[in-house]
């Protein structure tokens, strides 16, 4: 009996990691192909962002800073999609910008995937405007406090900002109804908190990757009104949007679709962790029984 416990424990301790890779890959591929989805609901951390947009004055512009690169897009892009859909459904002009050098492309992707396909009636410069990337990080945010035109004389297409109806009445960052930074690292949400949210009377919310979430929770709920973390945060926002705007449920929900494979991957990892601890327990029992 002891020998058997010992053998199993040894096998579990020295398990080749390629078995873990194989099981994980198989489970994720099966979940992806089966199209299994798990509807979610907005938690108290995500719901305030949805409520803020719902309660904004009619036509109040929203600043959406896409502070990420393609590596973080699977987690953050669904948030950009859902926020864009929500803003356009509720008639709030969106202003896109980025602190990341790859930001212009990330903005173009949202424009092509969401605005062009799902809101063909949306008018550029009236319903949305893309300012694009500017170098500077926190100093850029700092200089935009007083004047957008100081650093962005034109939008990405070369149109002067004074000719952009979406930004009518917007001089600096404080004139936006809401600022949201979808942040993959630095510069990102932290810079927006320090140089915009904390010094201006403007609501600020954020979205971040799973690994970045712990560092932003200290700012919630006083300095940021809500936080979407990882694909789960995006799925929660989609759930809130689907509940508040039933017409949205027919639209594309990438985060909700992605939660199926992600749930499967998490469950596999939990199973392997439990298996590893079972090995530890068997080793302990074998040692206790041995003379």
């Amino acid at each position: 009996m002891n020998d058997r416990c010992d053998r199993i424990a040894t096998w579990l301790e020295t398990l080749d990691r390629r078995w873990i890779f194989l099981v994980l890959a198989t489970v994720v591929v099966v979940a992806l192909l089966s199209g299994v989805t798990m509807p979610d609901r907005a938690t108290s951390v995500v719901q305030p962002i949805y409520d803020c947009i719902e309660n904004l004055p009619q036509g109040a512009p929203i600043l959406l800073s896409l502070d990420y690169s393609p590596s973080s897009a699977p987690e953050l892009e669904p948030m950009a999609d859902a926020l864009t859909q929500h803003a356009l459904l509720t008639g709030h002009p969106i202003c896109y910008m980025s602190l990341y050098p790859t930001g212009n492309n990330m903005i173009s992707r949202v424009e092509e995937r969401i605005i062009a396909r799902e809101f063909p009636q949306a008018v550029p410069a009236r319903d949305w405007v893309s300012l694009g990337f500017q170098v500077g990080g926190e100093m850029l945010v700092n200089s935009l406090r007083d004047s957008l035109t100081a650093r962005y004389p034109t939008d990405m297409t070369g149109r002067p900002l004074r000719d952009v109806p979406a930004l009518r009445g917007v001089r600096g960052l404080g004139d936006f109804g809401l600022i949201v930074s979808l942040s993959a690292g630095q510069p990102g949400l932290k810079e927006w908190i320090l140089y915009a949210g904390d010094v201006l009377d403007v609501p600020l919310a954020g979205g971040c990757t799973g690994v970045g979430a712990p560092q932003f929770f200290p700012y919630y709920p006083l300095q940021i009104l809500g936080l979407m973390s990882a694909l789960k945060g995006a799925a929660e926002y989609e759930a809130a949007l689907a509940r508040g705007h039933p017409e949205f449920t027919a639209a594309n929900q990438p985060a909700t679709r992605g939660m199926g494979p992600q749930s499967a991957a998490h469950l596999v990892i939990v199973a392997f962790i439990l298996l590893g601890n079972a090995g530890l327990l068997l080793r302990f029992l074998a040692r206790r029984r041995s003379p």
Partner: protein, 241 residues
């Protein structure tokens, strides 16, 4: 002369730092009737931000030149990794030419380099995005393997870590919510979703704040030393002692 080389950067550093610190505590003036000092500090805050951005652009240039020099040296020395260096250089210069010439996109200074149809967008969509996605999706496999080996209940501390990991892993998926949905409403705080939020909002926040405050105090101490000129600073052109 060497004294001047040390003192001038130090004076610039001290003046700029003091102005920026002061400007953070001054409300931006609404009109031209504001006191001179208030207007000066607001002007400094705005202008230094612009200068910082100009300097940051030069940092891009410096970074590019450094990359070229480093990889040219590796190719010249015929080291074992020279082919990787060659790929790096060709990729770097290729994308640089495509972006600078705005190939396939609207021309002119105001032309958007990332406009649909531009070559840079094609490179971004066909090369950079799949590469990033492939590289980062591999992380899931390494995290799974590392979790299997690291989260073992060998001691009280590691048991706490294990319990936290399990709660967060289950709390960050809808499946976790279904697993503990049977818990009655009065004990809803015991549901895995609520527990994971509690871990993030209470123990995590406490630890993060302690770290942030500690780091901030360290940064303040370092800044004061640099402003006072007692910190060794390579920018001063000497050892700063």
């Amino acid at each position: 002369m060497s004294g001047l080389k040390q003192r001038v950067p130090q004076i610039i550093l001290t003046v700029v730092a003091l102005l920026l610190i002061a400007s953070a505590f001054v409300v931006r003036p609404e009109g031209s009737n504001a006191p001179f000092v208030q207007r000066l500090l607001a002007f400094a805050d705005q202008e230094f931000a612009t200068w910082f951005s100009i300097l940051a652009v030069f940092a891009f240039l410096l970074g590019g030149l450094n990359l070229i020099a480093t990889h040219l040296a590796k190719i010249r020395d015929c080291g074992p990794d020279r082919f990787y260096s060659l790929v790096t250089l060709v990729s770097f210069l290729g994308v640089l030419v495509i972006g600078t010439a705005k190939l396939g996109g609207p021309p002119g200074l105001q032309g958007d380099v990332t406009a649909p149809g531009s070559w840079l967008t094609a490179v971004f969509d066909a090369v950079l995005s799949p590469l990033h996605a492939t590289l980062y999706s591999l992380l899931a496999f390494y995290i799974a393997s590392a979790s299997y080996r690291a989260f073992r209940a060998r001691s009280l501390e590691s048991s706490l870590l294990l319990a936290s990991a399990l709660i967060i892993l289950l709390g960050r998926i809808p499946a976790g919510r279904y697993l503990t949905a049977w818990i009655p409403e009065q004990l809803a705080f015991l549901r895995v979703e609520e527990l994971s939020l509690w871990i993030l909002r209470v123990p995590n926040t406490a630890g993060q704040r302690a770290l942030m405050i500690g780091i901030a105090l360290g940064v303040i101490a370092l800044a004061v030393r640099m402003i006072a000129g007692v910190e060794k600073d390579p920018r001063s052109g000497g050892d700063g002692s």
